[in-house]
Amino acid sequence: MEFGPHLMLASLEGAVIASVLVLTSMGLSIVFGVMRVVNVAHGEFYMLGAVLAWYVTSLLGGHPAVGFVAALVVAPLLVGLIAALSDRVILKHLKYDADRTIVATIGLLYIIQQTTLMTFGPDARPVEPPFNHRLALPWFEFGEGGFAMYWPWGLSTTSYKLFVIAAAAVVLVALWLLITRTKIGLIMRATQQDSETAQAFGIPVGRVYSMVFGLGAALAALGAVLVVPIQQAHYLMGADPLLLSFIVVIIGGLGSLPGTVVAALLIGMSDGIISVFFSPTLAKILATFLVAMVLVWRPQGLFGRSAT
C-alpha cells in the first residue's frame, strides 16, 4: 500500500486503540490522583468488564445490539461494585499505605484472574458487535483533472470501530462534566487536593475513596466492553492494558486529567504509526525506551505539577 493510505490506516487504528486506552487510563488516573495508590489489579477490572460483557450477551441472546447495550450498563456497574467492595474490605484496612497496597492489589490480581479461569475458562471467547460494516475509505491523488478520489486496495475501516471512537469521546465529555460541573465532582477534586482539609469540611473521605475506586474500575470495564467485539474476552487480557495505562498516567502527569487524555492519545496513536516506519518489535523497543526517557528527564510527566 502506498505511504499515504498506509498512514491513514495506521492513524485510524491508532485512534481506536487510543479511545479504549483513554477510558482505561482515566480510570487509573482518577484513582491515582485522588487516592494516591497504585492499583496493580486495574487490568483485571478491565478484563472483568470484557468477561461480564460476554456473560450478559450470551444470557440475553437475540440481536447482538440488545445484549451489547445491556452489557454497556451492567458490566461497568458490577465491576465498579466489586472494586468498591475491595476498597472497603482491603485497602481501607491498609490505610492506603503505598507498599502494602501494591502487594494487596497483586494478591487481588491473582484472585480475580484465577477465579475467572475457574469459571469462564481458558478460552478466548468472542462477543458479536451490535453492528459491523466494512467501510472502504477513499484516498486522494493528483490526477490530470486535479484532485481525484480513489479507493485503495485494503484501505478500510469498520462502522463499529468508528463507533468506539465516538463513544469514547462521549464518555470523556460526560466524565469531564461530572468532575467539573457536579457536586460529586467537586467533592472528588477537593479530596484530591487536600484530603485532610476536605475531611475537616465534613466530606466523608472514606466513602469518597470507595466511590472513586469503583469509578476507576468501572471506566476500565467500560473500555473493555467497547473493545471486546473487536478483540475477544480472555482471562489474561488485563496485562497489556495495565502496563499501558500506567505509562499513560505517569507520562501525562499525576493528578492531571487533561494530561492523561493527551498522553493516551499520544501513546495510542504512536503505537500504530511508528510501526509504519519500523519493524514492529523494534518499534516497541524504541517506544518503551522513549517512555522511560521522558520520565527520566521530566519525572513529573508532561503536565504534572511537582514531583510526588
Binding site: 497504585v38 502494602r100 494478591g107 491473582y110 502496563l243 505509562i247 523497543i285 518503551t288 517512555v291
Partner: protein
C-alpha cells in the same frame, strides 16, 4: 551478647542448618532447596535496593536475565570456560545496573517504578529482537557437558546443592557485612528520610547508585547460577512476573531483614507446591495469602519477628 555477636551467630546457624538439611532431606526436597537458595540470592539482591534503601524497582528481571544470558551466551556462542562465563554474566548485570542507575535514579517513587519497568520491558524486547542468537522466548539449553568445573559435574544432586549453598553463603555473608557497615546504615537512613540524610552531609545520589549496582550484581549472580545449575536460558525470565516475584518474596519474608528473602522464597515455593497438589487454583491461594499477609502481618515474617520478639534482628 552484643547485637553483632547475635547476628553473626544467627547467620552462621542458618548456613549450618542448610548444610544439615542436605543430609536429612529426601532428594525431592533437597532439590527444591537448591533452587530456593539460588532464587534467594535474587531476592537478597532485590532486598538491598528495596528493603534497605527504600527504592521499589519493577525491573529487576533484567538484571537476573543479564546474568543468565551473559553466562549462557558466553558458553554457547563464545565457547568460554565456565568460570569465565560466570564472570561475564556478573559483569553484564553490573554494567546494566550502572547504566540503569545513572538514568533511573533521577526519579523517585512511582516514576522510578515505571522507569525501571520500562527498562526491563526494553531488555525483554531486545532479547526477542536478537532471536537469532538468543532463540527468544523459547530459549536454549546449556548441555551438561558444559556445566563442569574442575572435573566436577554440576548437574548431580550433590554438586548442585553444594554449589548453590556456596554461592548463597557467599552472597548472604557479604550482604550481612554490608548491611552492618556504615554504608549499609546510611542506606537505611536514606530509606527513612532522604532529605535528612542529605542535610547531614551524605551524598545520597552516590549511595543510591552504589546500592543499585550492588543489587544488580547480586541479581545477576542469581541469574548466572540458575543457568549454570539448571541448564536453561530463556526470555521468560526477563518478563514482568520475574520482577514481581522478588518483590513478593521479600515482602513475605520481611523487607529489610537479612534472613527474610530466603524465608520468603521458601514460603512462597512451598505454598505453591502444596496448594497445587490440592487444587489447580493454587494462584488463588497465593493471592488470598498475600492479601491476608499484607493486611495482618505487613512487615513480613521476619519483620514481624523483629517488631514483636527480637528487636536486634539484622
Amino acid at each position: 551478647m552484643t547485637v553483632r555477636r547475635k547476628s553473626a551467630t544467627l547467620h552462621l546457624s542458618v548456613l549450618a542448618a542448610l548444610v544439615a538439611l542436605f543430609f536429612i532431606l529426601p532428594p525431592y526436597h533437597s532439590g527444591n532447596l537448591s533452587r530456593i537458595m539460588v532464587l534467594a540470592i535474587y531476592a537478597m539482591g532485590f532486598n538491598i535496593l528495596f528493603g534497605y534503601t527504600g527504592l521499589l524497582s519493577l525491573g529487576h528481571a533484567m538484571f537476573f536475565a543479564a546474568g543468565m544470558y551473559g553466562f549462557g551466551l558466553s558458553i554457547n556462542l563464545g565457547g568460554a570456560p565456565l568460570p569465565v562465563a560466570f564472570l561475564i554474566g556478573m559483569a553484564s548485570a553490573t554494567a546494566l545496573a550502572a547504566v540503569t542507575g545513572f538514568l533511573a535514579l533521577r526519579t523517585t517513587g512511582v516514576a522510578f517504578m515505571i522507569v525501571t519497568l520500562m527498562f526491563a520491558q526494553t531488555a525483554y524486547l531486545v532479547v526477542l529482537y536478537f532471536g537469532s542468537y538468543t532463540r527468544g522466548d523459547e530459549g536454549f539449553v546449556i548441555q551438561s557437558a558444559e556445566r563442569m568445573i574442575f572435573g566436577i559435574d554440576l548437574t548431580t544432586e550433590g554438586a548442585r546443592y553444594v554449589t548453590a549453598l556456596l554461592l548463597f553463603s557467599a552472597c548472604f555473608l557479604a550482604l550481612a557485612r554490608v548491611i552492618g557497615s556504615p554504608f549499609g546504615r546510611t542506606l537505611v537512613a536514606i530509606r527513612e528520610n532522604e532529605e535528612r540524610a542529605r542535610m547531614l552531609g551524605y551524598d545520597t545520589g552516590v549511595h543510591k547508585l552504589k546500592a543499585m549496582i550492588l543489587s544488580g550484581l547480586i541479581s545477576g549472580i542469581a541469574g548466572a547460577a540458575y543457568a549454570m545449575l539448571f541448564g536453561y536460558v530463556g526470555a521468560t525470565f526477563a518478563t514482568v512476573q520475574y520482577s514481581i516475584f522478588p518483590l513478593l518474596w521479600v515482602l513475605l519474608g520481611g523487607a529489610g531483614t537479612t534472613i527474610g528473602p530466603l524465608l520468603g522464597v521458601f514460603f512462597m515455593f512451598y505454598l505453591i507446591d502444596f496448594s497445587s497438589s490440592v487444587t489447580t487454583a493454587y494462584m488463588l491461594v497465593a493471592g488470598v495469602v498475600l492479601v491476608l499477609l499484607t493486611m495482618f502481618a505487613p512487615q513480613g515474617l521476619m519483620g514481624e519477628m523483629r517488631k514483636r520478639v527480637f528487636p536486634w534482628l539484622p
